[in-house]
């Protein structure tokens, strides 16, 4: 088979849009995919130009590429085409200059339809924003409610006539509210972690362990915690973010929670 015929079949058989764009913005060739995706008929090909098939805000960018006298292939260009009826089609393309007698005569452009990918990205972004919004509301409003309950319980504790047993129960209540607050804070942190790069820093593993232990100890005021470790302060450093403390807190919290002993040694 003639290589030219093979090339022709490839260009006409593909679902990607292939065009040859003249310097004046008209087309010397458009393939079947372009006509199908933008809903034009063969009789309309001569009426097409950059001004008719590209979104108005994108036309300047495309004109700049096709008029630039360069041998360079320009790839990964995201742009927007419009169908005959005015619907947008997101595409990603590569532009290859075509020279004759040392002069650039046209630009061969190949575009891949990325509308579905774009829509998925937009849907995902919308869902993320919605989730973040709901988490923000939950964090804000529940923190206020917890603040009010804790302050009220603080008031009750100030009453010197209260029996010790009642004071103990109130303190347990405060501790549970603080636990709920930490849970909410963790949910918020997870939502932030999933969308942002971690803020890494050099951390002393002994200090992170100690901070986690202090937090875990506060969650169980009725228990004692003896932490035995051969890791000395200033001995080991790791590259981590602030969640390293949360990891130690969670490990120690689980140990304290599930130990049946009052005096827990870890």
């Amino acid at each position: 088979m003639d290589p030219m015929q093979i090339a022709w079949h490839l260009m006409e058989g593909t679902n990607d849009i292939i065009t040859s764009i003249n310097k004046d913005g008209t087309f010397s060739y458009v393939n079947r995919a372009l006509m199908e995706k933008l809903h034009y008929s063969e009789s309309e090909i001569d009426t097409l130009s950059i001004g008719t098939i590209f979104f108005p805000g994108e036309q300047k960018k495309i004109k700049a590429i096709v008029t630039k006298d360069t041998h360079e292939i320009i790839s990964d260009v995201q742009t927007i085409m419009v169908t005959k009826e005015g619907e947008m089609l997101h595409v990603e393309g590569a532009f290859s200059p075509f020279f004759e007698g040392g002069k650039k005569v046209s630009t061969i452009a190949l575009f891949r339809d990325i509308s579905k990918q774009k829509k998925m990205e937009e849907d995902l972004e919308r869902e993320r924003n919605q989730t973040e919004f709901l988490i923000d509301i939950m964090t804000h409003d529940l923190a206020n409610i917890h603040q009010e309950i804790i302050s009220m319980l603080d008031f009750l504790i100030l009453n010197e006539d209260l029996p010790n047993e009642t004071v103990g129960i109130i303190k347990e209540g405060i501790s549970e509210i603080e636990r709920a607050t930490r849970l909410i804070s963790s949910v918020r942190k997870i939502s932030i972690v999933s969308k942002a790069l971690p803020d890494l820093q050099c951390m002393d593993i002994s200090l992170a362990l100690l901070r986690g232990a202090i937090q875990a100890r506060l969650a169980f005021p009725e228990k004692t915690l003896k932490l035995v470790t051969d890791v000395e302060h200033g001995e080991y450093f790791v590259v981590a973010d602030e969640y390293l403390v949360d990891i130690f807190y969670s490990l120690l919290h689980n140990s304290l929670k599930h130990s049946k002993k009052k005096d827990v040694t870890i």
């Binding site: 964090t139 409003d141 603040q147 009010e148 804790i150 302050s151 932030i192």
Partner: protein, 121 residues
């Protein structure tokens, strides 16, 4: 003893804070519900508070923006943040807040922070 302006969009929290502050003999001279109202209070009121207790996330104007505007009007104001949003801490301190307390706070922690603020003034 100090005088306070409470800036928070949660009405119930105002009542709680008034009660807590009374315990130590403090007086609340104003209660507003967003940053913009706080700025107007400082601009128009003859009785300036010793400390402004400021929330961060509020409608109309957030606490950090309000802090910048208040300090531009009166740089002697002491603004103490009480917020549930720990990510706002550095922004609040950069804006000129004297302290940041993460909700929910224990009354003893609030009193300590207030004492420290009043001592600075």
């Amino acid at each position: 003893m100090g005088t306070f302006l409470i800036v928070d969009d949660d009405e119930s929290l105002h009542k709680v804070l008034v009660r807590v502050l009374k315990l130590e003999g403090h007086k609340v001279v104003g209660s507003v519900y967003n940053g913009s109202e706080a700025v107007e209070f400082i601009r128009n009121s003859k009785t300036k508070p010793d400390i402004i207790l400021m929330d961060h996330r509020m409608p109309v104007m957030d606490g950090t923006t309000a802090t910048r505007e208040i300090l531009a009007l009166d740089s002697t104001q002491r603004i103490l943040f009480i917020s549930a949003d720990e990510t706002a801490e550095s922004e609040a301190l950069k804006a000129g807040a004297v302290g940041f307390l993460l909700k929910p706070i224990r009354s003893a922690d609030l009193f300590r922070a207030v004492k420290s603020c009043l001592g600075e003034k």
